[in-house]
Structures are given as structure tokens and as C-alpha cells.
Amino acid sequence: MTNTLHRFGTAESFRDDYVIFAMCCRGKNDEGALPKLKKFLEMAVPFRPVNLGDARHGGALRPSRSLNPTSHWNRDMTPDFQAVIDGLDTTTTVAAVFDNRPAAEAFLDRVREADLGLSINVSTSVDGADQCCHAAGINRHSVGYSLGFEGKTEKLPNSQVLTLMTLCGHGMIASSLAKKMIDWVKEGRRSPDQAVTYLSRFCSCGVFNPARAKRVLEDALSKTR
């Protein structure tokens, strides 16, 4: 079910993955929605998300159309949340990604107070979302369960690669790139932080979770030691 539902992992592994997103319904509440979507993003910043993004332009780390060759030695790896907010120019899905439940709960509570009128969804483990809603004093309206991958699953890569590539729900992170980054980290050619930024730039909807990706890369590294 779209971008974040089928992230690969156990419920326990989603302890550092809380995606809260806002969207409007075409023909129902899309008039004047753009400022509300911007406000949603602005409200998220004080709660220290690990990523912000929109489905049209991507997340807080974006590729450059005209990269300076000297950037190979001093490439900027700082997420630019303000650029995401300023760059939002159309009504689309916007998301804030958190790596801990208290922050997600506090942000959800703030969103409830703001009463934007937009549809707000929480994507994480079933229990994690339930706890967030409970903490914010919200009764869940609907739930969409992920039943995972079926069919020709032999075509899927190993679990570490699958965990990384499903951090972009639209499948824009190639399995071969995820595998390459795991290998580069293991070989000491790049740090986990650097590898995370490469992967992050391919996620076009802004829901990539760099904290979770870093943990996966560090796990992979620790298993080789």
C-alpha cells in the first residue's frame, strides 16, 4: 500500500522508524491545502525529525543538477529541512520521519492541536502507531495492515539489502546500490554516514529513514568483525 507500508523488518525493528504524513483528499479538502501542508512540515522541525520530505521533490538530502567537481572532497551531507519547506509548491503528500517514539508522539499531539483538517497517518509497527495515537488522545479511524511480500520471493535480495531498499517505498533505491553500500562500508571505503547519504538521495518521496539505514549498515559491519 504505497510508500511506507511494506518496509521490511520485524515489528520490534521499527522502534526507530516512525513516519507521520499528511495528505489531502482530492475534491474533499484540497482547496487551500498547500499552506496547511507547509505548516505541518514547519511544526515537525522542533521535534527533531531525521527526515522531512514531499512526494514531488524528495527529502532533505537531494541530488544536485550541477555538482561542482570539488565537492568530491567536501560534499555537504547536512539535511536541509528549510529547503523542503520552501520548495513545497503543490499539494502532495508530505512526511516527517522520526527515529524514536516520544518524538513521534509529541509531534502527533501537536498536529492534533493544530487541527489542520488534513488526513494524518502514522506508519510504523501496528503497536507503535497505536501507542502514538493513544498518547496523543486519538482514536484510530482506519488501519492498513502490511502482509509483507509473497509470490516469487526468491527474486528478492537478502534481508539487509531488502531493509535498505524498502526505505524508499517507491522502490527507487536499487538493490545493487544498497548491496554496494553495504560492501563499501565493510571494506572501509565509506563510513555508514556517508553511505546513508548516497542512498537517501534516491528516495524521491522523502520518507527515507537515515537513522534506520545507518543502524542496518553498522549491523552489517559488526557482523564482519
Binding site: 500500500m1 502514538c132 511480500f149 527507487m172
Partner: protein, 277 residues
């Protein structure tokens, strides 16, 4: 997507970033080349990679010098040093590849990016899945496998035979030539795409029937399927109807999207009626 033979320096970076593995270095011409049949026009290469605008002749010369001295040339892995990608003007039926693969392009039929459907994400406003109903999202091809429409048609035909209700505001539904049979337009059947979602809605009592049907069709198609099941919660926020059915069928419910119910209709009523009509 095409890659300029004049500009490509065969650094190989793009071969790793293609989700379909459709880019390779052609040994005959020593240039990156796109396998047109496998390419789903997702634009991950051109949109995801940063672009430098270096002189191709200079870069090729430097690469040859490094290669001669057995020095490893290790550029940033997400950069095309010469901006060699050449997106092309897509025509029917190839254009459906991009519509279902590049998440930045909204689907014309629904106006929604990504897979092109709102599902239960706006259920608090749309009431798409009502009390006592279950909405299925049957997604094909993701992650990294891809799917052709003739495989999707296997599922839509099987579902149509059981008389299920296809969601009208869904891009796959709009490409059916006959909703009553689940037939998809013939000219696109062999087009390969990153992924697509078929959406159906049934009464809760038919949940198991649909899942068993999906299991059966999965065996006949050559791709992965990701099944999502959406339903309404009770007034107190609990959901104790569908989850037990899924668990009884052997599913572990690890992850979910939860609609918090904070949305509401705010458009001018006349405009809302106009869109609905």
C-alpha cells in the same frame, strides 16, 4: 531513457542505481547502455544521481591513465560525471511505464503521485472503505522486480470472476478495457513497470476468500506481490475484526499505516459535489 554515447565515459556508476538492473556497459562500444525492454522509465538514474558537467574527453583520458597505472578510480557512487542521461519523449503505450514507475509523475486518472491511489490514507475524509468492509491493495513488482501488465491481468481476471468491486479511483482500473471481466487494454499488456496496485473492496466476510484467491494467482505469475488490507476501526479506535482473520491465516502483523481520523472535508460543498460527480 537513453544515455548519450558522446557523453558517457563508462564509469559504471549508473549500472548500480537502476532498480531494474537495466543499465550495463556494452563491451562493444564501451558505453553505458539501457536495455529498452527492461527499462521501466522510472527516472531513478537521472533524478537520483547528481550531475557533473565535465568534459567527456578529459574524463576518458584520466580514466585510461589511472587504469594504466592500476590505480583505483573511485568517484562518488551517485554521480554521473558528464550528465549523459537523455530522457526521451515517450509515446503510447510506452508512456505507461513512466506513469507507473516514476513516483514524481502524478497519474492523470487520479492526480495522485506514487502508485496513484489514496487507499485508506484519506479514509477519514473519503469513506472509501466503510464499516464492515475490507479494502485490499494488491501490489505487484516492488521492490526491484517489476511486473508486466499481462501478469496483473491474471489477478484482475480472477478477481472479476468472483464479482469483487474494483476501486474506480485507481490507475489500474482506469486501464481496464472491461471492468466486468478484469481485462486490461491489450496494447499495454507487455509493458513492464516498476509496480502497480490493484484495489478491491469486499465485505469483511469475504476477506479469507480474497486472500486465498491471491495466493492461488501468485503461483502463476513471475513477480512479487505485497498485500495490504485496510479496514475501519471501531469508535474507540480498536480493530478486532480483520486482524484475527489475518492472524488465523498465518500472517504476522508487523507493520501498518494508521489513519488518525484528523481529516475532514473543507472544500466548498459545490466544488466537492462537482468533483464527486
Amino acid at each position: 531513457m537513453r544515455i548519450s554515447r558522446d557523453r558517457c565515459v563508462a564509469c559504471g556508476n549508473c549500472t548500480y542505481v537502476c532498480p531494474m538492473g537495466a543499465i550495463y556497459i556494452d563491451p562493444a562500444i564501451k558505453r553505458a547502455t539501457v536495455d529498452r525492454d527492461e527499462c521501466v522509465e522510472c527516472y531513478a538514474c537521472v533524478n537520483g544521481m547528481s550531475q557533473e558537467h565535465l568534459n567527456p574527453t578529459l574524463v576518458r583520458t584520466l580514466r585510461r591513465v589511472f587504469q594504466f597505472f592500476r590505480l583505483r578510480f573511485e568517484p562518488e557512487p551517485d554521480v554521473c560525471p558528464t550528465a549523459a542521461f537523455e530522457p526521451e519523449e515517450l509515446t503510447w503505450p510506452r508512456v505507461v511505464r513512466r506513469a507507473f514507475s516514476d513516483p514524481r509523475v502524478p497519474h492523470e486518472s487520479t492526480g495522485v503521485e506514487g502508485r496513484g491511489t489514496e487507499e485508506v490514507k484519506t479514509n477519514d475524509v473519503s469513506n472509501r472503505v466503510g464499516v464492515g468492509e475490507v479494502g485490499f491493495t494488491i501490489e505487484f513488482g516492488r521492490p526491484g522486480v517489476g511486473v508486466r501488465f499481462f501478469e496483473i491481468q491474471e489477478m484482475t481476471r480472477a478477481l472479476a470472476e468472483r464479482g469483487v468491486h474494483f476501486e474506480k479511483k485507481n490507475p489500474v482500473t482506469t486501464l481496464m478495457s472491461d471492468i466486468s471481466t478484469g481485462d486490461i487494454r491489450e496494447e499495454i499488456l507487455n509493458e513492464k513497470i516498476m509496480s502497480a496496485i490493484v484495489e478491491v473492496k469486499v465485505p469483511v466476510e469475504r476477506t479469507e476468500e480474497v486472500i486465498r484467491l491471491v495466493w492461488d494467482v501468485e503461483k502463476r505469475i513471475d513477480t512479487v506481490v505485497a498485500l495490504g488490507v485496510g479496514t475501519r476501526c471501531e469508535a474507540n479506535g480498536e480493530e478486532n475484526v480483520v486482524a484475527p482473520i489475518l492472524e488465523r491465516l498465518g500472517y504476522r502483523l508487523e507493520r501498518a499505516k494508521t489513519n488518525t481520523g484528523l481529516g475532514r472535508a473543507t472544500n466548498h460543498p459545490a466544488r466537492a459535489q462537482e468533483v464527486t460527480a
